[in-house]
């Protein structure tokens, strides 16, 4: 009885969610370096697993947790703006690579959507699922808008988006190693293009240069997909 009362009091404000998130973040960083930085388990995944377990078994529930954590996630807006600063600081590197970026972006951003759509279509997915998967490589606020425009389910899109972000962070690390790519500019760009904010966060762990290229990849993919996808959808 007292326990439920304590939970009611603590969950009345956002601070429990904030404390849990901060705690999980710090624990994840510690575990990550403790296990000698495993590529298959980035800090964001460790923190999310820890939080999911706590949120599920404590009876807090995801909705209450997420409402409280909104005090943190509201900062994603100004943080996205903040990505413009390293983008400016690394501009000389970006200028040096502008041709490959312009050549790669339209095709790579289109294929990021087309591959998944093609596979889902072959497996007999419904139009709702297809429309929800289409903006999967785009940063969350843009993707939600696209999903609505093409008639998808926003919550399914968000789920697809988060899974894609985590997968892209893992796959870019593996693939870059396999293809013997050591250029932080290419790795960063691939992270931002395929893995939006989650990939960009991963890129900043590699280096500020990778982070700047990830911000660029994320921003360009977001703008490109937002303009092109609803257009293609209306034709199809």
């Amino acid at each position: 009885m007292t326990e439920t009362n304590a939970l009611t009091v603590l969950t009345a404000g956002p601070m429990l969610s904030v404390a849990l998130t901060l705690g999980a973040f710090i624990a994840a960083q510690w575990l990550f370096s403790r296990f000698r930085k495993p590529l298959w388990m980035p800090p964001v995944l460790i923190a999310a697993v820890l939080l999911a377990v706590v949120v599920a078994i404590s009876g807090l529930g995801f909705d209450r947790y997420y409402n409280g954590a909104a005090w943190l996630t509201v900062l994603l807006g100004p943080t996205t703006v903040a990505l413009g600063v390293p983008l400016y600081q690394q501009m000389h590197h970006i200028r040096a690579l502008w041709k490959p970026i312009v050549m790669t972006l339209p095709l790579a951003a289109t294929l990021a959507a087309v591959y998944a759509l093609g596979i889902a279509w072959l497996m007999g997915a419904t139009p709702l699922v297809l429309a929800s998967l289409a903006p999967k490589s785009v940063t969350a606020p843009i993707a939600m808008g696209i999903a609505e425009q093409v008639g998808g389910s926003v919550s399914l899109t968000l789920g697809a988006l988060l899974i894609t972000g985590v997968l892209a962070s893992l796959f870019v690390d593996w693939m870059a190693r396999w293809l013997k790519i050591k250029d932080d500019r290419i790795i960063g760009f691939a992270l931002g293009l395929n893995g939006h904010a989650i990939g960009t966060a991963r890129a900043f762990e590699i280096s500020p240069m990778a982070g700047a290229f990830a911000s660029l990849g994320m921003g360009l993919t977001g703008v490109f997909t937002a303009l092109i996808l609803p257009l293609i959808w209306s034709l199809g």
């Binding site: 947790y65 703006v81 903040a82 294929l111 591959y115 870059a176 960009t200 977001g222």
Partner: protein
């Protein structure tokens, strides 16, 4: 630090205002990011305050996206009936698109640098 944070929040609000007024399908944050980049390019320098605030926020970017990632573990029931399709499409699709991006960029960057880059 605070002055830098204010700049970022103001640019976010400007981005949101532009999005709504111009009816753009792009988010206010991304528009703000583009505006900050162009403003800094025009000014040709970035203040210490702004650089510090931006570094601070970016260093906690992982923290800020974590609550959303937690949601992945709680949406499984929404995928009922087609979760195999969704998971296969996402895993294979992302694998292929990451591969394509890396190969395209490597090829394109290689050609650009072979062509002589004097920057």
């Amino acid at each position: 630090m605070l002055r830098g944070f204010l700049v970022l929040v103001v640019f976010f609000l400007l981005g949101e205002a532009l999005r709504v007024m111009a009816g753009l399908p792009v988010s206010g944050g991304v528009l703000g990011m583009i505006m900050v980049t162009f403003t800094l390019m025009l000014r040709g320098k970035v203040s210490d305050e702004l650089a510090e605030a931006s570094r601070g926020l970016i260093s906690v970017l992982v923290l800020l996206i974590t609550p959303g990632v937690v949601g992945v573990f709680f949406i499984v029931d929404q995928f009922t009936g087609y979760w195999t399709t969704v998971v296969v499409a996402l895993v294979v699709g992302t694998l292929l698109s990451v591969f394509t991006t890396l190969v395209l960029m490597k090829k394109a960057a290689g050609t650009a640098e072979d062509g002589g880059d004097h920057d």
